[in-house]
């Protein structure tokens, strides 16, 4: 019984996100360090979906956490803290994507030898081998990022939030402050463009193999 009570006490001692937020707002700002420790990995991972440069992704994660800290007073408990933080991170990444906006046609073009080998492997290997190889090959990520770079910022936001975070169209619309119709159109366009670009890459490497 004593052990059970101890476990209960221990479990009670683990503060929820909302408890920690209340502590921060109550003046114990050090509690934000625990919130950061809990959510940092997810925030960094989301940033990495948008930016292949790891240092850049870390900077943006840091900026997102800073914005969360400075705007904590505006947090309302109706939505989980993780969702609120994800919305902040998505918006930070969106701002950065728009700031760095480049012409899409510049992006899917000349590949390095490693990326060409990867495209060739995707063209020829069995599905099982493709999955196994992708885990170890950095160029698989590089090429995927280049493919995503071909999308406009709005399309890319929808693609990443839908595919990686598995958010619904309504949730994405709420995070981005867009209409549901806009999200649907963006998702459709993004999928079409990604498929077209991927086809282009695969076809060009199919041709090379045939020669």
């Amino acid at each position: 019984m004593a052990a059970l009570a101890a476990i209960r006490n221990w479990r009670g001692a683990v503060n929820s996100d909302e408890d920690l937020i209340a502590e921060v707002l109550g003046g114990r700002t050090a509690a934000f360090a625990e919130l950061t420790a809990r959510h940092r990995e997810k925030v960094e991972r989301l940033c990495q979906r948008f930016f292949s440069d790891r240092e850049m992704a870390r900077d943006l994660a840091q900026e997102s956490l800073m914005r969360a800290f400075t705007g904590l007073a505006t947090y309302r408990a109706e939505m989980p803290f993780s969702g609120w933080l994800r919305a902040i991170t998505a918006n930070v990444c969106y701002d950065e994507l728009r700031r760095r906006q480049r012409r899409p046609e510049d992006l899917v073009g000349d590949f390095g030898a490693a990326e060409q080998n990867w495209a060739q492997l995707v063209n020829q290997a069995t599905p099982e081998d493709i999955v196994n190889a992708a885990e170890q090959r950095r160029e698989a990520h590089d090429l995927a990022h280049r493919l995503l770079d071909a999308l406009k910022p709005d399309d890319r936001m929808v693609m990443v939030l839908k595919e990686t975070e598995e958010l619904s169209v309504n949730e994405i619309a709420e995070i981005m402050g867009w209409s549901v119709a806009k999200v649907k159109i963006r998702a459709f366009r993004a999928r079409q463009l990604m498929r077209a670009q991927a086809e282009k890459i695969l076809s060009s490497h199919k041709g090379r193999v045939a020669r």
């Binding site: 950061t36 240092e55 400075t70 700031r99 999955v131 990520h141 990604m194 890459i201 695969l202």
Partner: protein
């Protein structure tokens, strides 16, 4: 497994969350359906970013290109070098970020703000934690007193105009 079912499972196959039987059925379907096979290959080009939980370690940077480990937060991204942004815009953005961050930290309890900044910076050795803890010393009388450019107001006894006025 038919085409519709197979296409629904691209993500699950990539993440290895399919049962062994489903996995075999999936591979078998792709083996006999050229359209689904092609779709999976186009999917596989973006899947490493969209459907993988973690990325492989980045390639080591060539020697001499490592960035300085000691840099303030605002100086870490240099937009003007990345995409041709005008330097004044980068500096303005950095200044705004510093002001916002400084104001926020000022409002927070001073001793704790260092902890928060360190926590946000994480354990990345390349990130120098930035503290915006207000330094009250710069506003103190001591500093003003030692600044030769700042003249102390004259005491009434030493001020001839004031002394005369009071005497009269």
């Amino acid at each position: 497994m038919n085409c519709f079912e197979a296409r629904k499972e691209f993500g699950a196959f990539w993440c290895r969350t399919l049962t062994p039987e489903m996995r075999v059925a999936f591979s078998a379907h792709l083996g006999r359906c050229a359209k689904c096979d092609r779709s999976f290959r186009t999917f596989a080009l973006s899947a490493p970013v969209l459907h993988s939980e973690r990325e492989p370690e980045p390639r080591p940077r060539p020697a001499g290109t490592a960035r300085s480990a000691v840099r303030p937060l605002a100086a870490r991204r240099v937009p003007s070098q990345r995409n041709g942004m005008a330097p004044w815009r980068a500096m303005a953005a950095a200044a705004i970020l510093l002001i916002i961050s400084g104001t926020a930290a000022w409002r927070a309890a001073a001793p704790a703000s260092q902890d928060v900044m360190e926590a946000i910076a994480g354990d990345d050795p390349a990130v120098e934690p930035v503290s915006y803890t207000p330094d009250a010393g710069i506003f103190s009388q001591d500093v003003i007193g030692t600044d030769p450019s700042v003249q102390e107001p004259l005491a009434p006894d030493n001020n001839p105009v004031q002394s005369e006025g009071l005497a009269g």
